[in-house]
Structure formats: C-alpha cells, structure tokens
Amino acid sequence: MYHNEISKERKIYLKKERRNKIAVTLCRVFFIVAFIAVWEIGGHLGFIDTFVLSQPSRILGVFADFKENQLLLHIGTTLFETAVGFLLGVVIGCFLAVLLWWSPFLSKVSEPYLVILNSLPKIALGPVIIIWAGAGTRAIIFMALAISMIVTVLEMLNGFNNTDKELIRMLETFKANRLQIFTKIVLPYNIETLFNSLKINIGLSLVGVIAGEFLVSKAGLGYLIVYGGQVFKMDLVMASVLILAAAAAILYEVIVITQKLALKYINHR
C-alpha cells in the first residue's frame, strides 16, 4: 500500500462487495425461514398433509422427547459405526496404497481390478456382506469399509505417483532407498492428498453405514428412518434425516479444521 487513505474507487468497491455479501446471507436466511413457515402454516391450514410430510413443530416434538425416542442411542450407534468404518477404510486404504506405490509391478497388475471395484455400486454387495459378516454391526461396518476403502486406495496412490519427480531425483542423487524416498518426500508431500481423501471418506462411510442400517440393524439413524417409514411416523423420519445432515456437516467440518491445523504445523509453504 502506498497510501494510508483508501481511495474513493476502493471505497466504492469495498462497499459493493459488502453489500453483495449481506444480500447473499439475507436471501439464504429468507429462504429457509420462508420454507419452514410455509411448511408449518400449511400444516395448520390443512393444505399440506402432515401425515405424509410431517411438520416443523412435530419434528421439534421428536427432539424434545429425545429420551423416549432413544435418540442418543441411535445417534451414538451410527457415529460409532461410521467412525470404525472410516478409520478402518483410511488405515487399510492407505496401507494398500503404500504397497502399490512400493511395487509398480503390483500396481500394474491390480489396476483393472481396482477400476472395476471402484465403479461397482458397493451397495449391491449388501446381501452378500450379510452372509459373510453376519446380520449385525459387523456387516454395517463392512459396508462402510467396502464403500470408502477403494476410493482411498486410488486417491492416495494417485497422490503418491504424482509426487514432484524432481524432488525424488534430488533424493536419489544422494543414493536414497525406497523407504527414505517415501518417508522424506512422498509422505510429507501428500499430506493434503490425505486430508482430501479423508473428506471424501467421511461422507462415504456415512453412506455405507446408513445403507447397512437399512438392511440389518436394531439401532442407528438408518434403522430409525426405516422403522419410522414402516410405521408411518414421518416426524421420526424427518427428525432422523435432519440429525444425519447435521452429523455429516459436523464430521466434515472437524476434518477441515484438523487439516488447517495440520497444514499450518507441517507445511510452511
């Protein structure tokens, strides 16, 4: 900055930017408030069928009765299954990615299989997984794992293989072995790749858990949605979906924050 004072043009520009931002926020708030209001009032006036579509106040009622509805148990169950599936998916996925990076031969051999497995809709394996893992929590975690693992392998392997070749060559001129190349260059170089894959994975694990809970479960948000649908308790279904949306957003945000902290600590770019 050459001037301490802000020029007139800059003032106008800043004002315009601020106005734009406020307008966007106002519109967002307006839409959600209007949506809820129309839904609520429509229910009272009778032009919205609350039996099929539920109603904001009735959804609130479900939250208020969280003890009776055992909401905490269901939320806890889903979160636990998601966490286990997510962690297993990341650990096993990363391990396989390292293995494939280590051995270009193995990587070449497995390439077509990985591509096919990746494009296969894993939910189709549901019934098979139940037979293999039993109709219980294990099957649900398996489902989450099946959905998130292959993506991790592909994402991480891609990152490993795209590590700056010049950096690797530099290390090789010092006669570095494969382990040194991995720990000194490839791994630190791919911290961001890792976090990007975590972000994709947390969502996918949740998808896997809910799909698993639809098929076999005695608790969890997926169970609650299926159960609510079967006994036509739409309030319960809607409340569960809302909780699910919030859980997904929070889990994602946790990873984003961890990433920021980690990058600040590790990477001084």
């Binding site: 010049e166 950096l167 010092f174 006669k175 570095a176 990477n267 001084h268």
Partner: protein, 256 residues
Amino acid sequence: MNKILEVSHIKVCYQAVNGEVEAIRDVSFSVSEGEFISIVGPSGCGKSTLLSAVAGVTPVSEGKILLSGREVSEVSDDIAYMLQKDNLLPWRSIRKNVLLGLEIRGMITEENLSYADNLLKAYGLWEFRDKYPSQLSGGMRQRAALIRTLAVRPKVLLLDEAFSALDYQTRLAVTDDVYKILKKEKQTALIVTHDIPESISMSDRVIVLSKRPAVIRNIYTTEFDIPDRSPLLCRDHAAFGEYFNQIWKELDVHVS
C-alpha cells in the same frame, strides 16, 4: 595437478521397448583437482547421460570411468549433484534441508554437522537456518541447495543445468555466487549447461559435444588474465566474445 576424474572411451546405450538409443559414442576427458569443466552440446545429445554415467547412476557399455583412480561401478558416494531448481523441501527448515544429504547417506556425525553449520555461517545462511524455503529469496535458496551438496563433501560436484530455471538477472548473480563459493571450497565441478556464455564464464575448460550420439567435437581452454577471476568479470573481458564465436560455430546450430 592431480587427475581426480578420468573418463576414457565411454559408450552409453539406453535400452527401450522400441529399440536401443546410443546416447554417447566415444567420449574421453580428464579433470584435475579443483578444476571446473563445462559441457555444452545440442539438447538431447547426451549431456545429462554423461553426468549420470560419471555418478555411477547409468552404467557404461564400453570404456571406463576412474574417480581418484578407482573405477566407478555403482552409485558413488564421492559425487554430488545439483539439479535444475533448488528442490528444497518446503516443510523443512533451511538447516534441515542442508542436512538432508548427510541424513540420507547416514553421515550425521558431530564433525559433519559442524562442517555443515560452518558452511551455513560462511555463506550468510546461519541466521536463516530456522526459516523455511518460502521465506528466502531465489538466490539464497540456491545457496542453501549448494550447501546441501557441499555438506556431503563430494570429490566431484555435478551441476546439470542447475541454473536454467532462474530468470536471467538472478542467474547472472547466482552463477557468480556459486562460482566464488566453489572456488573457495576448492571444489572440483562438472557443469552441464545449454548457455554458452555461462559455460565460458564458469569454467576452466569447455567441452563441446556433437549431437547424439555424443562425441567430443572440441575442448576449449578459457584463459582470462584476470587476477580474481569471476563469471561476471569474464563476461566483460575482450576474449569472451572470441570464445563465444568459436563455440557457437562449433555447435553448428541451425533453425530447420
């Protein structure tokens, strides 16, 4: 003077699926201790291959390379490389970057650590030792990269187009800087470049290679009667243009 490196009648071929590439046909030269040799030649003629053979990375098909009298047969610990760009790791501090070579070669000893620290002190990087590469200027980063290679105390330092990623002005300053540091450390160096002025100003002898498969077309000894010779001073010298014209003709570059 002592001959530190002797390259005699080497031939290098690459094997690929679609055939054999003869990169170097018959190249012989020798380098004395403390001498700077430049290698120029058309692009793709085998300059990098020649360095890589000297380093023991690429095996030779015929002939042999002697380093301090011993034949080079595998990747040699007595050689260090400087590649294009500084290749400093952004997540390591300058000091940790400088120690990388020692770390990789398992040479972290009290003595080597203090040697590296002294280099940092001698060349103005000590106060930046805890800073990260992104916080330093291009010239400083290049210095850090140079110290990283000097820290392993190589008998011969290889520079493969080490300055070609820098912009012109920075390059002039950095080559001057590197030259002075290397001379002061009495480092023997083999410099590959596609920049004729750089080759003349940086080295005691310039080897001109033919296009692939490379043979030596000529070797020029560049003599400037300047007391404390440095690349920038050489560029101002009357003999400079003469050398340039000779090498330019020898390279026989055409747009076709």
